[in-house]
Symmetry: C2
Subunit: 240 residues, 2 copies
DNA sequence: CTACTGTATACTGTATACAATACCATTAAG
DNA sequence: CTTAATGGTATTGTATACAGTATACAGTAG
């Protein structure tokens, strides 16, 4: 008669909730890059005391989403173009490993889920005012890449990539909100997916990985180029 | 007359010192894996109040050096063989990127420093009681790999690799203290170094990277095999 | 002897208090 | 008019208090 063996829904502690909320505020741009973080203000904003705030900040600091400026004040981190390039290099190295793992281990459910994510993204084809769909596209993009990492079965790979993604998200809130060219990911994602699917279905997956690897590399290189270009053109208009 | 532009030696705050000390205690094995971390005990041990302890723990938790067990108590993390394999995969992906970067960008000083580290390691040739030299070898090993990452000029790569290294160090404190076969790194390191040096000195470094990449791969695969073997033989003797 | 329950104890989560420091503005001195 | 001194305010660093929760132990009923 053991119906619910679930060890009870333990409510998240305040510092965990604070961490989540603060991280979300940063990644959404609500707390924009370089803004100073004042413990007392945040405590009031989230309706908690300073203690949980500090614990949350320490975690974000370790992930480099929060950094200390030269006078020691804590601020939301800013990501430069140089950082973006370096992060893309790390990302490519890690995602190639992820794709390789996915080619060998992805479950049918995971493959199906990838397909769904791409199809969903394809729904949002070229709406004239694509601005409102932009966050959705980004979220779908993130989920797709994360799912590949998860499919590899490598827990640490997921953790490492998540950190890289967070910093890239931070870069995005600094750059233009709407970059129509992001829509190109739809095609590139399908290429990656088909590479993984083909390898997974192949009799000798080990030998059939190459196209998938090539696809993820092409995708990320193109993505990197788009981001760099977007940031640079943004900086020009800013200087005018 | 600006002699010291250094922005003043700001004394580390207690929570930073606590973080360092706690991390060191974990990585050195003084606080062995799976030991329960009790805030009040740690506070007494380090002579501070619970507040800085908590902040330090939160950071270590984010790096997965500290984890919560099923009843929510915080413990020093334990790394399994499966984890080690996955970590080595991540490590190889990242270190190949590091070697590539080092081939293109390492400064003369950095190359010299690599040479020194290897030479130092070679000093400790086969002393009969190698046990006492074991920690030194590990430290030299770590520094060599870290230096390669730094030579790539990729700040994020260094951060990510550092996290991987920490977890591998944690695995090591679980496994046998003295594994004589670690000494083999001396030869393998020199291979890696010579690959990097050759590429760096080459007229077309971009084309001369392959040997260095091959060397780091060989080194890490061999290292992975040694670690896995060591852990497995350890488990056998434990079960007897 | 075993199982249950109550109580003391230990620990964590959170808030708050207090001290030290950095920042800012205003005023006084040169 | 500029610079230095001074006080006040904002903010962080750290300790501690207190409440809620888990854990262990003992005593009691079966």
């Amino acid at each position: 008669m053991a119906l619910s063996l679930a060890p009870i829904q333990r409510p998240k502690s305040l510092h965990e909730q604070t961490y989540d909320a603060l991280r979300a505020s940063i990644l959404s741009g609500e707390l924009p890059p370089n803004v100073r973080l004042v413990e007392t203000q945040l405590a009031e904003k989230f309706g908690v005391s300073r203690t949980p705030i500090r614990e949350a900040i320490r975690q974000l600091q370790r992930e480099a989403l929060v950094t200390a400026d030269d006078s020691g004040n804590l601020r939301v981190a800013t990501i430069t173009v140089a950082d973006a390039v370096q992060l893309y290099d790390c990302r490519l190295a890690l995602e190639q490993l992820a794709v390789e793992g996915a080619c060998l281990q992805a479950s049918d459910a995971q493959l199906q889920c990838m397909d769904d994510l791409i199809t969903q993204a394809e729904q949002y084809i070229t709406p004239p005012t694509s601005t409102q769909y932009y966050p959705i596209m980004l979220e779908l993009d993130y989920q797709f890449h994360r799912l590949i990492a998860e499919s590899s079965g490598n827990r640490w790979l997921v953790m490492l990539l998540e950190q890289v993604f967070d910093k890239m998200a931070l870069l995005r809130v600094q750059t233009t909100r709407s970059n129509p060219r992001v829509l190109e990911i739809r095609f590139e994602h399908r290429q990656v997916y088909q590479g993984i699917l083909a390898a997974r279905r192949s009799d000798h997956p080990q030998a059939a990985i190459a196209p998938a690897l090539q696809a993820i590399q092409t995708h990320l290189m193109a993505s990197k180029a788009r981001v760099v270009e977007a940031v640079q053109s943004l900086q020009q208009t800013t200087q005018n």
